[in-house]
């Protein structure tokens, strides 16, 4: 039997999708300095993917309300709440993270990738989560896919072969 191609649910920049549709894969393209956070409950078979652009929503309270997925500090809590709403349980969660690429910037003002990673780490630590796998930093952009039925997460940079995260 020919395996059916998965239905791709595409997560844009500053967006999030959570799903329990076993025929779907969650995809986000070209994570550069942005951070992709993939969460998955292997028992409930529920997955979520957040593509956040900036670390901290306190710079714009209006945007924090209207575009919460733009920021790590508002997007990540939304992501967790949404997958809990679909039946996921905290203790079973697999958390994988990708992105956070950095420019060659000695002043560091443009290194939003590093600030995104730091903000997420501190948020997760404060709330008793740990990251199971990560592909962060460096100079490459990354496309990630999360298979909702299996929880398999693949990551691919331009010109490279896909790898399991």
């Amino acid at each position: 039997m020919i395996p059916q191609r998965k239905k791709s649910l595409i997560v844009g920049v500053a967006d999030m999708i959570a799903s329990n549709d076993s025929t779907a894969e969650l995809v986000t393209y070209s994570l550069g300095s942005c951070l992709g956070i993939m969460v998955y409950d292997p028992v409930a078979k529920v997955g979520g993917l957040l593509h956040a652009m900036l670390p901290d929503s306190t710079i714009d309270s209006h945007k924090a309300q209207t575009r919460p997925f733009m920021f790590i500090d508002t997007g990540a809590p939304h992501l967790f709440r949404t997958i809990y709403g679909l039946g996921a349980i905290k203790d079973r969660l697999l958390i994988r993270v990708a992105g956070g690429a950095e420019f060659l910037d000695t002043d560091g003002f443009f290194n939003i990738g590093a600030r995104n990673i730091k903000t997420l780490q501190s948020l997760l630590q404060r709330n008793g989560y740990h990251v199971d796998a990560a592909a962060v930093g460096g100079r490459c952009s990354r496309t990630v896919r999360l298979d909702v039925s299996s929880g398999k997460c693949t990551i691919q940079s331009p010109g490279e072969n896909p790898q399991t995260l």
């Binding site: 920049v13 500053a14 393209y29 070209s30 994570l31 550069g32 300095s33 942005c34 593509h51 652009m53 900036l54 901290d56 710079i59 714009d60 945007k63 733009m70 690429a101 950095e102 420019f103 060659l104 910037d105 000695t106 002043d107 003002f109 443009f110 939003i112 990738g113 600030r115 460096g138 100079r139 490459c140 952009s141 940079s157 331009p158 010109g159 490279e160």
Partner: protein
Amino acid sequence: MTAEEIIAKVKDLPMVSETARKLPGLLNKPELHRDDLVKTLRCDNVLTAKMLRVCNSASTGLREPVTSVDQAVLLLGDSTIFRIVCALGFGGAMAAPLPGYAVEANGLWSHSITTGVAAEYLAEVESFGGFQPPLAFTAGLLHDIGKLILNQMLTPKTRSDIRTLIAEKSLSRVEAERDVLGADHADVGAALLRRWNVPDVIVQAVADHHRPVVKPQIQLSALVHLANCAAHLCGSAPGWDAYAVRVQRDLSEALALDVHRIEHLLMGVHSSLATVNQLMTAA
């Protein structure tokens, strides 16, 4: 090899229509003139037809169909029509995949329009440098055009040498390209645009977009450099090692940028990017 020698050596120069090549020249005057734009477009039925298709797509929100250049300019404005025809005019060549850079079809085009829109936003809304927005857009749109040429010089060996220099010596991509090939995509792009008689201010901005000039005053290259960084940070970073870009130290000082200012700029640029998708979907 010099940039000129590389251009002479490669087989395929980008196929860009004569009308498209003339468009940047309309910015030689302090302001874009409607009559010049209309006159130029009247000579090119193909480009005009493509432009009208974009104008008549749902994204522009026009109630009545647009059927002529004059009507399009009247209803949507000179700058918008200029942006559309410039993006479309160079789009055919830029939409090609660039295997040497591991850029898929439409990847360079999308990044180029994104950078153009970001540059236009920085000029128009943030008033950086006092540049007219169509000029900022055009320089942003054309900043990486040299990759169409340099792509043909990137063999597995040269590409591997460049990537090794980036990984092991912390060079930027342009620094590594210069080391391995003798010229980088910015030099090559500028040389190509010079052949096409594109205005010097745009040629210089393309040449210097990875070494922006901010003294004694901010040049267009600084705006394009910032727009290119913003495009990357908003998710438009095609190809391998796309973040091997060196941010110039004096840029932040000259433009009074700090962490918070940059993040605010990114939110603004991100909001303006809906235009990119509209244009690419309708084209």
